[in-house]
Symmetry: C2
DNA sequence: CGGGATCCTTATGGATACTG
DNA sequence: CAGTATCCATAAGGATCCCG
């Protein structure tokens, strides 16, 4: 496939031009890192390296599938480091990489915002729900 | 008596999950801002109040369903304000509230992180994918 | 113990049609 | 114009079994 590059390029260019939204790797990354379990996982890992089963016990509610899947994604993105110790019962530890820690710091900022403004949000919801049927 | 088992266990698990997150509204907020369209919408609204159809045209790719749904959620949470002007063709404007703006700022911070570290992430991925099949 | 593979349920999102 | 309602496709997530 070499003859079509022109139109294909144009499509691609248009998609890239709309970097404001989908197609943009940054946005993909944003969605990735704000994954349902990724945040909790990274928050848990801020306390230091932990074993697979420890994480599973600590998060309590995550399935091993999602635990593994999320861990794999984070590892692949260079946010988490996986260390295997080939002892008799295999031992695997997970830890935040420096990159992962820098992101975890940001999560903390969001966490702070949430804790600081959650009341306002809740109040807004109550106000909204109360006035829903009112005229 | 077997109408449950599976669903009951799931409920139980979810209860435990909620209990674990009780003092942690952070994740709810994280999930909220990581919504597929919420981020784009708030980013778009940073340029000032805009009409429903303008937003739909600007985001271009969002369905009315998701546009309305996301807008409603943001409004309910007190992040966005909805203003109806009962003219002949009804006019509805949406704008960020101060609360919404403060969150949009945080969102930008995360976005900045993503843009700043996207290369490292991509490199990490390539490294990971390259060594995946190696033994 | 750690995790791959598989099957199944549910949440999410998009297209379409209709309304005030 | 600004929605609302409905149906449908897909993806996310979870339960279970099994293996190194």
């Amino acid at each position: 496939m070499a003859t079509v590059t022109a139109s294909e390029r144009r499509e691609e260019a248009r998609a890239a031009y709309n970097a404001f939204m989908k197609g943009c790797p940054t946005n993909q990354l944003l969605i990735r890192i704000s994954d349902k379990w990724a945040g909790l996982l990274m928050a848990a890992l801020k306390d230091g390296p932990q074993r697979y089963s420890d994480l599973g016990r600590r998060i309590a509610g995550v399935s091993q599938k999602m635990l593994t899947q999320t861990l794999r994604t984070l590892e692949r993105d260079g946010l988490v480091e996986r260390t295997v110790t080939p002892s008799v019962p295999v031992r695997v530890d997970y830890a935040l990489t420096p990159l992962g820690e820098s992101l975890a710091v940001l999560f903390s900022a969001v966490k702070d915002w949430a804790e600081e403004h959650i009341e306002e949000v809740v109040e807004a919801r109550e106000r909204y729900d109360a006035g829903a049927g009112t005229s």
